[in-house]
Symmetry: C2
Subunit: 416 residues, 2 copies
């Protein structure tokens, strides 16, 4: 079994070790929650000051052109594209994941409905992040056309759910709780084989592992920039539309930014000929500008290198927990196979919430998700092998000394 010194050796040989310097990480903290909110790229402080003081303060209205504010969603999209296997002119950074999902799902359902009205099912996993399910439910209710959200309990049940009445297969590539990774190409091919379209949520895969939307022949995708892409709290989401659908899909959120000529100020909507039609209203420029700082760091490496280190980190974490926390009621809920694992590791524990609070109090920040799941994200841009060691030692201490009994009490008081 690896020792702490072995971990230090791994760090010394890590070709990505230098990237950690690009981030501001509070002293005394092992941060394993970059799958919820990525840490701050150091450059973001200066960039925020530049946007607020110079671009807004001095440039004022002129900055819409002079500082390129109007084109930010497209420019950031083009920079993000290589991380998800997309090309230029295919990705927009805009709005929220929920809103983008609504735009794309509505466009896809309308497209199917116009051609094959019997296709009114949306196949999805019950364990998907709730907003994906909620958005589909709200859309189905709005449409009043008999659309059905068909939920499967296990990934293995997806093929059987793909009947001839399915309009869209809507999946999140990496499960937010378990960290299980879908085979995007295989499932997309399966959907297409049944006449359904495939819509992917990349919230936990963009920036976490190599994604190949074009290679998988996917139809559309959404994702998040504030997790593995380190864009800042609630930073704008992204969307991708396959080139073959860009001039076909119609957005229901037809706001003026998606108009073919926004400044012609025409009463009648005419969509932008390309992916730009999926823009809607004026974007939150300060938050949006900071997304660039996160993307800058990715240009110093590539997703294949990041994936190699990510798997080494999660392998090490699983091995160390199983050795050093043996005997405690921890159940691994993340797949052991590399091909089925994202960049996080989750364990179920009967007192999961309290254990995580105690860990956070001890300086190891992961997070908790119902039911009973301790979730740890491993982001190779800044996570060291020795961080894995320290995290496991802290977990062992919490379990052995039962500090979680006290932590739970403190936290519940703090919430009330």
């Amino acid at each position: 079994m690896p020792t702490r010194d072995d971990c230090l050796q791994l760090d010394a040989r890590d070709p990505l070790a230098g990237l950690r310097e690009a981030f501001d990480l509070p002293p005394g903290v092992v941060y394993l929650d970059g799958n919820s909110l990525g840490p701050r790229p150091k450059a973001a402080a200066e960039r925020a000051a530049q946007v607020v003081v110079q671009e807004w303060g001095q440039g004022l209205i002129r900055s819409w052109n002079d500082a390129g504010w109007f084109t930010l969603p497209r420019r950031l999209g083009d920079r993000l594209a290589p991380l998800i296997g997309a090309g230029p002119g295919e990705v927009l950074v805009t709005d929220t994941t929920s809103v983008n999902l609504f735009k794309l799902l509505a466009a896809m359902l309308a497209h199917q409905h116009a051609r094959q009205p019997r296709r009114r099912a949306i196949v999805c996993e019950r364990g998907n992040f709730p907003t994906d399910l909620h958005i589909a439910q709200g859309l189905a209710k709005l449409l009043q056309q008999g659309h059905e959200l068909r939920l499967v309990d296990r990934a293995e049940d997806i093929p059987a759910a793909l009947a001839d009445d399915v309009a869209v297969l809507m999946l999140t590539q990496v499960d937010y709780r378990t960290g299980a990774l879908h085979d995007m190409a295989a499932l997309t091919a399966l959907a297409h084989g049944h006449g359904a379209l495939a819509l992917w949520d990349l919230a936990h895969s963009a920036g976490a592992l190599p994604v190949d939307l074009r290679g998988a022949d996917a139809d559309a995708a959404v994702g998040c920039t504030y997790k593995y892409l380190n864009g800042g709290p609630g930073s704008p989401a992204f969307l991708w539309v396959a080139p073959r659908w860009q001039a076909v899909f119609e957005t229901p959120l037809s706001g003026w930014w998606g108009h073919a000529e926004p400044f012609a100020m025409e009463p009648q909507y005419r969509p932008d000929p390309g992916v730009g039609r999926f823009l809607c209203g004026t974007q939150a420029i300060v938050s949006q500008s900071l997304v660039a700082c996160g993307l800058d760091v990715f240009e110093r490496t590539d997703m294949a290198c990041l994936r190699t280190k990510s798997l080494a980190l999660t392998d090490l974490f699983i091995a160390l927990v199983e050795e050093r926390c043996a005997g405690f009621p921890l159940e691994l809920v993340t797949p052991r196979e590399h091909a089925r694992r994202g960049s996080q590791v989750s364990w179920r524990h009967p007192q999961g919430y309290a254990v995580m609070q105690a860990l956070i109090a001890a300086g190891v920040i992961g997070d908790y998700r119902e039911p009973g799941i301790l979730r740890f994200g491993f982001t190779p841009l800044y996570t060291r092998f020795v961080d894995v060691w320290e995290a496991v030692e802290a977990l062992r201490d919490v379990l052995q000394n039962e500090t979680w009994r006290e932590a739970r009490f403190q936290t519940r008081s703090a919430v009330t």
Copy 2:
């Protein structure tokens, strides 16, 4: 006619003069475009640094609770409420105006459709800001229920358009081109008298003049924080729902933030019992945090004082232009009556675009809107009477010396 000295006297006696110090205004510029993008409150620089460096950088994921990020949309909404005649728990600062309009219009159409299916018309002005029309068009197309966008050419035509098939009267209180102000209470009463609901867009009235949503008995409203409220470029929009409708209207954009218990992570959507159901996805926190800096300034005055100065500024501007630019082909398109005027003054000129470019080059920043309209916003928080004088002198110079002939050429080159 007033002289420059008279203007200086007016500034010396202005009880709001001290508020100008709260803003960063570039030297050598008369900024009359706060109706498009408000200037930077000085406090926004420090606040941005605090959110980025401290809350994000040091607090990391903990700031969702510790820094109150989760409750920002509601807390900012409660602070904004008094400016628009709303109460606590009625307003959210979230998403964009276009997205919020979609949520509310969809909710209102569904409510009407369920009770009186014949009500399928949305009455609107053809001259409304295009995104309002585009959103209604996209929604009608999505619904496939035969909804019609009924556009009137003149405000006087609204009553005749309110037939018994109207579901919603959707108006912008102050016209973005002409600055004309609607009588919200009278038009809302008229809509209600015909069984229609009234949805108001306050983009050019919130923070510009006293708005009384409750007093007018309006049903719902949206608006913008980056114009008169000085929230920053593209800062999040707001929405208001009358208390009587909060538990009735259903949002089609049913994202997880609008769930009754977001962290229960339930597959089935259950709406928040109040206005919170109109939240959708995770918000852009850095941009959102800066909205507070704009609202802070409003707490040092009230809308009645601001309205008095606003009308004095726009009266002065109209009088000075008519005297000092007499003989040039400027046509006033803003109503002269106070009761029908917002906080901007617009003039049509055959070479409007070039004239505005020349004015901007001369340090007077207004903006241009098709067709041929020079638009000047007067924002009493920081606009001085002497600024009005300087703007008119600059306009006179541009017209007299025809500097716009050169400016037009320069600008067109710059765009290509």
